[in-house]
């Protein structure tokens, strides 16, 4: 389907905040709404922060605490002055009429706000995250309505964010959903084992192709050639030299830092005698 409008890039921080505020909603509230903060580019809107806004919703009316929203935005602006209100979010699957009213309010705060929905109730078995922008529709002059047109959503990460998300991903595996932070060589070992897993998958595929179970795919074959050629061919002597000098550097640094630690411990003992 052709998409009209800018691409919406979301940071995982925003989604995590939305889920968290959904979990903390008041009794009886079926959904949560809040403001989205971020930056607008020429072709994309980047959503970097959000905060939830208390609101009451019943059959016929909806009340949103505007004062609160303004206040929170001021506070947030003090920390990151580059973020502006770019829209609002709501949990839940559908877009109700109340949404239209709320959207109207937000269009007073920001030009062309986007509306983000995250289906935290998992109605369709998945958490659908969609973004919309409003467009006028109907017969001009007579009944005019508002239509929400969908936008394409992408997730972007900073490098460090990706590493954080990586760690969080691993909490999925453990029962109790907890994960401690490891350090030192075990991390390298973990990373290496992951690469090893990937290599085993590739090897299994190659075996299948060789034994004829799977038809060979040329593009995959080219990738494999790339992979094998990536290991640089250096003469054994040169490599030996490089390796030894690097190892020497590292060992020297280790020795020096151990020495320093022993020195300060000694100094401590002498002073406190």
């Amino acid at each position: 389907m052709s998409v009209f409008g800018p691409v919406v890039k979301i940071h995982p921080v925003v989604l995590a905040s939305i889920c968290d505020s959904y979990e903390r909603r008041n009794e009886g509230a079926s959904r949560v709404i809040g403001t989205l903060l971020g930056t607008i580019d020429k072709h994309s809107i980047e959503v970097t922060n959000c905060f939830s806004v208390p609101h009451n919703e019943s059959e016929d009316e909806v009340a949103v605490d505007m004062e609160f929203a303004k206040n929170m935005y001021e506070l947030h602006k003090r920390v990151s002055p580059t973020e502006v209100i770019i829209g609002w979010y709501a949990t839940g699957f559908d877009i109700t009429e109340h949404s239209v009213l709320i959207h109207e309010y937000y269009s007073r705060e920001a030009t062309n706000p986007i509306h983000l929905t995250a289906d935290t109730a998992l109605q369709s078995g998945k958490m659908n995250i969609r973004a919309y922008v409003s467009a006028q529709m109907g017969v001009p002059g007579k009944t005019v309505g508002v239509m929400f047109t969908p936008l394409s959503v992408k997730y972007i990460y900073y490098d460090t964010e990706r590493i954080g998300v990586d760690l969080l991903q691993r909490t999925r595996m453990t029962p109790g959903r907890t994960k401690g932070l490891t350090s030192d060589l075990s991390q390298v070992a973990g990373s290496a084992s992951r690469v090893q897993d990937m290599l085993t998958t590739v090897l299994a595929y190659i075996e299948d192709v060789l034994s004829g179970k799977v038809t060979a795919d040329n593009s995959v074959g080219r990738f494999l050639m790339d992979l094998v050629n990536k290991v640089p061919t250096i003469s054994a002597e040169d490599f030996e030299n490089m390796l030894n000098s690097n190892i020497n550097d590292l060992l020297m640094v280790t020795y020096l830092s151990n020495l320093t630690q022993a020195q300060i411990a000694l100094n401590e003992k002498l002073v406190l005698l």
Binding site: S17, F51, V79, G164, R177, V188, S191, I247, V253
Partner: protein, 327 residues
């Protein structure tokens, strides 16, 4: 500099952080902290048995010059009040700070953590190291002041005698509390979703072989600190030398006095009055030892970091060797 929490009877044995808090801290540094400035923020949560659960956090704005009358307390109060409206735990349980290559043991940190811990017993300071994180693994550590150090800070007695009494070394200043990351089920669902839709290539920075840049900077900081330390040692040495010289002088003066008095006695003249010795020989000011402790702690921290880094790199080098061996 840090001993594990199992040895001390602190009220908090473990810290449990929500995944969202981790992401928020990372994002705060990324957006506002470029250029080796520290970013700070407040941690919110609650205490459950012997665990400290951190469920939310909010950042502190930077100290800028044009905000001279910026009221930090007011900002904090307003933030907490607003968060209470949306059912977020508003109990202060600590604060976080980013660090540059591991240099965070400073007077400012000590003072802040002391005031926090004095007010709230279980509070911790979370140190987030963005450069180490950028190298492939999340570096987040939680520290508290040991009870001994709390005592000393309370009395503000930083003289060498005071520290000797308390028997504190730089290893007993901070204690590290183990951290565990916990996610709710809904966040788990989110993680599955992200993994599904995410198109980011899986980079393995952790297996990166280049080390000289990082090592250089770390060693430079280490050298600076060691220089500071040696200056401090020189100061202390001059002080103790002055002290012993003064003792000698006092001794000599007393002896001369006694001799004179003995002579006068033998001559029958009135003795000279005993003068107040202390007024004549004012003892030199003992240098405050707190800075030395801090510097020692910092040096220790740098050394630990460097050792960790080198051990990882050694492992990687050997792996590279194995890979080449098959070529």
């Amino acid at each position: 500099m840090a001993s594990t929490a199992g040895t001390l009877d602190s009220p908090v044995k473990q810290i449990q952080i929500e995944g969202m808090v981790v992401l928020k801290i990372i994002k705060h540094y990324q957006e506002e902290g470029q250029g080796s400035e520290v970013v700070q923020g407040v941690l919110l949560g609650l205490v459950v048995e012997d665990r400290l659960e951190i469920t939310n956090c909010f950042p502190f704005p930077q100290h800028t010059e044009d905000d001279a009358d910026f009221d930090e307390v007011q900002y904090q109060m307003e933030m907490m009040r607003s968060l209470r409206h949306v059912n977020i735990d508003h109990l202060h349980v600590g604060w976080y700070q980013s660090t540059y290559y591991g240099s965070f043991v400073s007077r400012a940190l000590l003072d802040s953590q002391f005031s926090y811990q004095h007010a709230i017993e279980e509070s911790v300071v979370l140190i987030y190291d963005p450069i180490k994180t950028g190298q492939g693994s999340l570096s987040l550590k939680a520290y508290r002041l040991t009870p001994k150090l709390m005592e000393i800070c309370k009395e503000k007695d930083f003289t060498p005698e005071g520290l000797k009494k308390a028997n504190i070394g730089f290893e007993h200043m901070f204690e590290e509390v183990p951290i565990v990351i916990r996610n709710s089920h809904l966040i788990n669902v989110l993680m599955w979703e992200l993994e599904d839709k995410s198109t980011v290539a899986d980079k393995h920075e952790l297996l990166n072989l280049s080390s000289s840049n990082h090592l250089e900077k770390s060693l430079q900081l280490l050298m600076d600190r060691v220089d500071d330390m040696s200056q401090d040692i020189v100061k202390f040495n001059t002080y103790s030398r002055n002290l012993s010289k003064q003792q000698q002088q006092k001794h000599q003066y007393l002896q001369r006095r006694q001799q004179e008095n003995a002579q006068r006695q033998s001559r029958g003249e009135p003795q000279l009055p005993e003068e107040d010795i202390n007024k004549m020989f004012k003892p030199p000011q003992p240098p405050p030892r707190m800075d030395t402790l801090l510097i020692a702690g910092q040096v220790n921290n740098y050394c630990q970091n460097v050792k960790e880094f080198t051990s990882q790199n050694l492992g990687k080098l050997f792996m590279a060797e194995a890979l080449q061996g098959h070529n």
